[in-house]
Amino acid sequence: MTPQQAFDQHHQAVYSFAWRLTHRRDIAEDITQEYFLAFIRAPHRFDPAKGSIKVFLFSITRNLALKQYRDDRGELPLDGSERLAGNDPRESIAISSAVASAVASLPHLQQEALILFEYEGVTLEEIAQIVGADIGTIKSRLHRGRERLRRILAEYRKEGNTHGTVR
Protein backbone atom coordinates (compact mmCIF):
# COMPACT_ATOMS: atom_id res chain seq x y z
CA MET A 1 0.00 0.00 0.00
CA THR A 2 1.45 3.37 -1.01
CA PRO A 3 1.28 6.32 1.38
CA GLN A 4 -1.23 8.02 -0.92
CA GLN A 5 -3.50 4.98 -0.88
CA ALA A 6 -3.22 4.73 2.90
CA PHE A 7 -4.08 8.40 3.18
CA ASP A 8 -7.08 8.18 0.86
CA GLN A 9 -8.48 5.18 2.70
CA HIS A 10 -7.86 6.13 6.30
CA HIS A 11 -7.28 9.84 6.79
CA GLN A 12 -10.90 10.55 7.68
CA ALA A 13 -10.89 7.83 10.35
CA VAL A 14 -7.65 9.14 11.86
CA TYR A 15 -8.94 12.72 11.78
CA SER A 16 -12.34 11.80 13.30
CA PHE A 17 -10.78 9.75 16.08
CA ALA A 18 -8.27 12.49 16.90
CA TRP A 19 -11.01 15.14 16.81
CA ARG A 20 -13.28 13.15 19.09
CA LEU A 21 -10.45 12.55 21.56
CA THR A 22 -9.18 16.12 21.61
CA HIS A 23 -12.32 18.10 20.65
CA ARG A 24 -10.14 20.41 18.60
CA ARG A 25 -9.89 20.62 14.84
CA ASP A 26 -6.42 22.13 14.76
CA ILE A 27 -4.98 19.41 16.97
CA ALA A 28 -6.83 16.70 15.03
CA GLU A 29 -5.31 18.13 11.86
CA ASP A 30 -1.82 18.16 13.38
CA ILE A 31 -2.19 14.59 14.60
CA THR A 32 -3.43 13.36 11.21
CA GLN A 33 -0.58 15.11 9.46
CA GLU A 34 1.98 13.81 11.94
CA TYR A 35 0.66 10.27 11.62
CA PHE A 36 0.83 10.20 7.84
CA LEU A 37 4.22 11.91 7.76
CA ALA A 38 5.53 9.13 9.98
CA PHE A 39 3.87 6.60 7.70
CA ILE A 40 5.40 8.17 4.59
CA ARG A 41 8.88 8.20 6.15
CA ALA A 42 8.73 4.67 7.49
CA PRO A 43 5.96 2.62 5.88
CA HIS A 44 7.73 -0.57 6.93
CA ARG A 45 6.70 0.12 10.54
CA PHE A 46 3.29 -1.29 9.66
CA ASP A 47 3.56 -5.05 9.94
CA PRO A 48 0.38 -6.86 8.82
CA ALA A 49 1.46 -9.84 10.91
CA LYS A 50 1.05 -7.81 14.08
CA GLY A 51 -2.46 -6.60 13.36
CA SER A 52 -4.73 -4.90 10.87
CA ILE A 53 -4.02 -1.45 9.45
CA LYS A 54 -6.97 -0.24 11.54
CA VAL A 55 -5.27 -1.36 14.75
CA PHE A 56 -1.99 0.19 13.61
CA LEU A 57 -3.44 3.56 12.71
CA PHE A 58 -5.65 3.92 15.78
CA SER A 59 -2.76 2.88 18.06
CA ILE A 60 -0.51 5.56 16.63
CA THR A 61 -3.28 8.15 16.62
CA ARG A 62 -4.08 7.35 20.24
CA ASN A 63 -0.44 7.77 21.23
CA LEU A 64 -0.20 11.08 19.40
CA ALA A 65 -3.40 12.31 21.06
CA LEU A 66 -2.10 11.26 24.47
CA LYS A 67 1.17 13.04 23.79
CA GLN A 68 -0.75 16.13 22.80
CA TYR A 69 -2.81 15.96 26.00
CA ARG A 70 0.30 15.64 28.12
CA ASP A 71 2.02 18.50 26.35
CA ASP A 72 -1.03 20.72 26.81
CA ARG A 73 -2.37 19.78 30.19
CA GLY A 74 0.19 17.80 32.09
CA GLU A 75 -0.28 14.18 32.98
CA LEU A 76 -3.56 12.67 31.84
CA PRO A 77 -5.75 11.01 34.46
CA LEU A 78 -5.84 7.45 33.15
CA ASP A 79 -6.82 5.71 36.35
CA GLY A 80 -10.53 6.39 36.23
CA SER A 81 -10.61 9.79 37.84
CA GLU A 82 -13.11 11.87 35.97
CA ARG A 83 -12.45 14.93 33.92
CA LEU A 84 -14.94 17.73 33.75
CA ALA A 85 -16.53 18.45 30.42
CA GLY A 86 -16.06 21.82 28.80
CA ASN A 87 -19.78 22.57 28.79
CA ASP A 88 -22.64 21.61 30.98
CA PRO A 89 -24.83 19.44 28.76
CA ARG A 90 -27.98 20.71 30.46
CA GLU A 91 -27.29 24.12 29.02
CA SER A 92 -26.60 22.85 25.55
CA ILE A 93 -29.35 23.10 22.99
CA ALA A 94 -27.97 20.78 20.35
CA ILE A 95 -27.93 17.08 21.14
CA SER A 96 -24.67 16.86 19.28
CA SER A 97 -22.99 19.23 21.72
CA ALA A 98 -24.58 17.41 24.62
CA VAL A 99 -23.22 14.08 23.42
CA ALA A 100 -19.78 15.59 22.83
CA SER A 101 -19.74 17.06 26.33
CA ALA A 102 -21.04 13.88 27.89
CA VAL A 103 -18.40 11.77 26.16
CA ALA A 104 -15.73 14.30 27.14
CA SER A 105 -16.82 13.98 30.76
CA LEU A 106 -15.98 10.27 30.81
CA PRO A 107 -12.65 9.09 32.18
CA HIS A 108 -10.18 8.96 29.33
CA LEU A 109 -9.95 5.18 29.09
CA GLN A 110 -13.73 4.82 28.91
CA GLN A 111 -13.85 7.66 26.44
CA GLU A 112 -11.41 6.15 23.95
CA ALA A 113 -13.01 2.71 24.18
CA LEU A 114 -16.43 4.20 23.55
CA ILE A 115 -15.26 6.36 20.65
CA LEU A 116 -13.48 3.47 18.97
CA PHE A 117 -16.42 1.12 19.42
CA GLU A 118 -19.37 3.42 18.78
CA TYR A 119 -17.96 5.81 16.20
CA GLU A 120 -15.06 4.15 14.45
CA GLY A 121 -16.52 0.68 14.14
CA VAL A 122 -13.59 -1.04 15.81
CA THR A 123 -14.23 -4.47 17.32
CA LEU A 124 -13.63 -5.29 20.98
CA GLU A 125 -10.63 -7.44 20.06
CA GLU A 126 -9.12 -4.62 18.03
CA ILE A 127 -9.69 -2.08 20.82
CA ALA A 128 -7.97 -4.45 23.23
CA GLN A 129 -4.98 -4.55 20.88
CA ILE A 130 -4.96 -0.80 20.37
CA VAL A 131 -5.00 0.15 24.04
CA GLY A 132 -3.06 -2.86 25.27
CA ALA A 133 -5.71 -4.30 27.58
CA ASP A 134 -7.73 -7.49 27.62
CA ILE A 135 -11.21 -7.76 26.16
CA GLY A 136 -12.87 -8.07 29.57
CA THR A 137 -11.40 -4.72 30.60
CA ILE A 138 -12.62 -3.11 27.39
CA LYS A 139 -16.14 -4.51 27.91
CA SER A 140 -16.14 -3.15 31.43
CA ARG A 141 -14.98 0.29 30.29
CA LEU A 142 -17.62 0.37 27.60
CA HIS A 143 -20.32 -0.71 30.01
CA ARG A 144 -19.41 1.90 32.60
CA GLY A 145 -19.08 4.59 29.95
CA ARG A 146 -22.47 3.84 28.45
CA GLU A 147 -24.05 3.65 31.88
CA ARG A 148 -22.83 7.11 32.70
CA LEU A 149 -23.91 8.48 29.32
CA ARG A 150 -27.41 7.08 29.84
CA ARG A 151 -27.70 9.15 33.01
CA ILE A 152 -26.07 12.32 31.68
CA LEU A 153 -28.05 12.34 28.45
CA ALA A 154 -31.40 11.41 29.97
CA GLU A 155 -32.92 14.79 29.30
CA TYR A 156 -32.00 14.62 25.63
CA ARG A 157 -34.21 11.64 25.05
CA LYS A 158 -35.56 11.83 21.53
CA GLU A 159 -39.29 12.38 21.22
CA GLY A 160 -39.93 9.22 19.25
CA ASN A 161 -38.27 7.07 21.85
CA THR A 162 -40.34 8.24 24.82
CA HIS A 163 -43.78 7.35 23.60
CA GLY A 164 -45.22 4.07 24.59
CA THR A 165 -42.56 3.28 27.15
CA VAL A 166 -44.28 1.55 30.04
CA ARG A 167 -42.82 0.32 33.27
Binding site: Y119, R157, K158, N161
Partner: protein, 102 residues
Protein backbone atom coordinates in the same frame (compact mmCIF):
# COMPACT_ATOMS: atom_id res chain seq x y z
CA UNK B 1 -49.17 2.44 34.37
CA UNK B 2 -46.63 4.64 36.09
CA UNK B 3 -45.13 7.86 34.80
CA UNK B 4 -42.02 7.39 32.67
CA UNK B 5 -38.81 7.33 34.66
CA UNK B 6 -36.79 10.16 33.15
CA UNK B 7 -33.56 9.61 35.08
CA UNK B 8 -31.82 7.32 32.65
CA UNK B 9 -31.93 6.45 28.96
CA UNK B 10 -32.43 2.91 27.81
CA UNK B 11 -29.71 1.24 25.76
CA UNK B 12 -31.80 1.77 22.63
CA UNK B 13 -32.33 5.44 23.40
CA UNK B 14 -28.62 5.92 23.93
CA UNK B 15 -27.92 4.15 20.63
CA UNK B 16 -30.31 6.58 18.94
CA UNK B 17 -28.63 9.66 20.42
CA UNK B 18 -24.94 8.80 20.05
CA UNK B 19 -24.82 9.11 16.22
CA UNK B 20 -25.89 12.74 16.52
CA UNK B 21 -22.32 13.61 17.44
CA UNK B 22 -20.79 13.80 13.98
CA UNK B 23 -17.14 14.44 13.28
CA UNK B 24 -16.24 17.17 10.80
CA UNK B 25 -14.82 16.26 7.43
CA UNK B 26 -11.03 16.32 7.32
CA UNK B 27 -9.85 19.45 5.50
CA UNK B 28 -8.64 19.04 1.93
CA UNK B 29 -5.45 20.98 2.71
CA UNK B 30 -4.17 17.95 4.61
CA UNK B 31 -3.63 16.06 1.38
CA UNK B 32 -1.99 19.04 -0.27
CA UNK B 33 0.31 19.46 2.74
CA UNK B 34 1.36 15.82 2.77
CA UNK B 35 1.68 15.22 -0.96
CA UNK B 36 2.53 18.59 -2.52
CA UNK B 37 4.37 17.01 -5.43
CA UNK B 38 1.12 15.55 -6.69
CA UNK B 39 -0.44 18.87 -7.42
CA UNK B 40 2.38 21.26 -8.41
CA UNK B 41 4.90 21.35 -11.28
CA UNK B 42 8.56 21.52 -10.25
CA UNK B 43 8.96 25.20 -11.04
CA UNK B 44 6.05 26.07 -8.81
CA UNK B 45 7.50 23.99 -6.01
CA UNK B 46 10.82 25.74 -6.51
CA UNK B 47 9.06 29.11 -6.44
CA UNK B 48 7.32 28.25 -3.22
CA UNK B 49 10.30 26.61 -1.54
CA UNK B 50 11.33 27.87 1.84
CA UNK B 51 13.70 26.95 4.61
CA UNK B 52 13.94 27.71 8.26
CA UNK B 53 16.91 29.26 9.99
CA UNK B 54 17.43 29.97 13.67
CA UNK B 55 16.65 33.53 14.74
CA UNK B 56 20.21 34.33 15.97
CA UNK B 57 21.62 33.27 12.60
CA UNK B 58 19.04 35.44 10.82
CA UNK B 59 19.94 38.33 13.10
CA UNK B 60 23.66 38.03 12.32
CA UNK B 61 22.94 37.78 8.58
CA UNK B 62 20.84 40.95 8.69
CA UNK B 63 23.59 42.82 10.53
CA UNK B 64 26.19 41.65 7.98
CA UNK B 65 23.92 42.68 5.12
CA UNK B 66 23.34 46.13 6.58
CA UNK B 67 27.07 46.60 7.20
CA UNK B 68 27.95 45.53 3.65
CA UNK B 69 25.33 47.83 2.16
CA UNK B 70 26.52 50.74 4.25
CA UNK B 71 30.12 50.14 3.26
CA UNK B 72 29.24 49.91 -0.43
CA UNK B 73 26.85 52.86 -0.56
CA UNK B 74 28.86 55.45 1.34
CA UNK B 75 32.07 56.58 -0.50
CA UNK B 76 35.31 56.35 1.36
CA UNK B 77 37.19 59.48 2.42
CA UNK B 78 39.81 59.77 -0.33
CA UNK B 79 42.04 62.88 0.04
CA UNK B 80 41.52 65.25 -2.88
CA UNK B 81 44.37 67.55 -4.04
CA UNK B 82 43.12 70.70 -5.64
CA UNK B 83 46.60 71.90 -6.80
CA UNK B 84 46.95 69.18 -9.42
CA UNK B 85 45.83 70.14 -12.93
CA UNK B 86 45.57 68.04 -16.09
CA UNK B 87 48.51 68.25 -18.51
CA UNK B 88 47.69 70.59 -21.41
CA UNK B 89 50.57 69.82 -23.83
CA UNK B 90 53.06 67.05 -23.79
CA UNK B 91 56.59 68.00 -24.96
CA UNK B 92 59.26 65.39 -25.05
CA UNK B 93 62.83 66.22 -24.10
CA UNK B 94 65.54 63.68 -24.37
CA UNK B 95 68.31 64.00 -21.87
CA UNK B 96 71.41 62.18 -22.79
CA UNK B 97 74.16 61.07 -20.61
CA UNK B 98 77.31 63.16 -20.99
CA UNK B 99 79.32 60.04 -21.93
CA UNK B 100 77.03 59.19 -24.79
CA UNK B 101 78.62 59.01 -28.27
CA UNK B 102 76.71 59.14 -31.49
Amino acid sequence: MEPFDNDELTEQELDAILPDWKAPVAPARLRAALFPELRMPWWKRLWGASFRIPLPVAFVLVILLVAATWRWAIPRDVPVRNDLQPVKEISLRIIRNADFKN
